[in-house]
Symmetry: C2
Subunit: 120 residues, 2 copies
């Protein structure tokens, strides 16, 4: 791990072999974890430029603006990067449910005694 | 994506080719994103059994209890799984700084105008 990457002021994402970093979106108002996705350089650039979350869809192998179909965009309030720059944190204002299932968050089930329980 | 995995009550993590899911830890009290790491089945089991966060270290290729050296363990308050069960959310009570750099969170730098700015 390079010190410059940890301590510096240069945005220098550590993309994995597939050219991706992990992107984590939380609700800026509530702190709830909304979704975990991935960004390539193009998605990161589009997010920084537009202020709306873009990701790289691994299953569809294309750039994907969150909410492009549903309208449930994620407006970026703040973006942060972690120590080794292989993860991005987006604090967002969601325009609607973040999950394609219609749930407010993709994390709608708690793990309890090894089973899943609907949390909201 | 199987419907059972999305809607069911069975914990059935969708491990990637390396046997890992993404694990995201947030501070249960403040909502701050503390760190992003990975879990294999063993790390998930150890976390569920002990109530303390365990991860799989990709760089060291071994099970890793967060805080095993520093004492800065993450006590699990709640665990959730996302829609397609390839990510785990841990809401935790951290015993100390979560980042190996000594910062409270690994996400100690904001992205501003393409540069990194110390956030805390």
């Amino acid at each position: 791990m390079s010190d410059a990457r940890e301590t510096g002021t240069t945005l220098d994402p550590k993309y994995d072999a597939a050219g991706l970093v992990t992107a984590v979106a939380t609700d800026a108002a509530t702190g709830a974890l909304l979704m975990v996705a991935h960004m390539n350089a193009e998605a990161l650039e589009a997010t920084l430029t537009t202020g709306e979350a873009h990701f790289w869809s691994r299953s569809r192998a294309r750039l994907w603006k969150k909410g492009e179909t549903s309208g449930h965009i994620l407006r970026v309030i703040e973006m942060r990067v972690d120590c080794d720059q292989d993860a991005i944190w987006l604090r967002v204002d969601p325009a609607g449910p973040a999950c394609h299932t219609g749930a407010a968050t993709c994390f709608y089930r708690r793990i309890e005694d090894g089973r899943l329980v609907r949390a909201e």
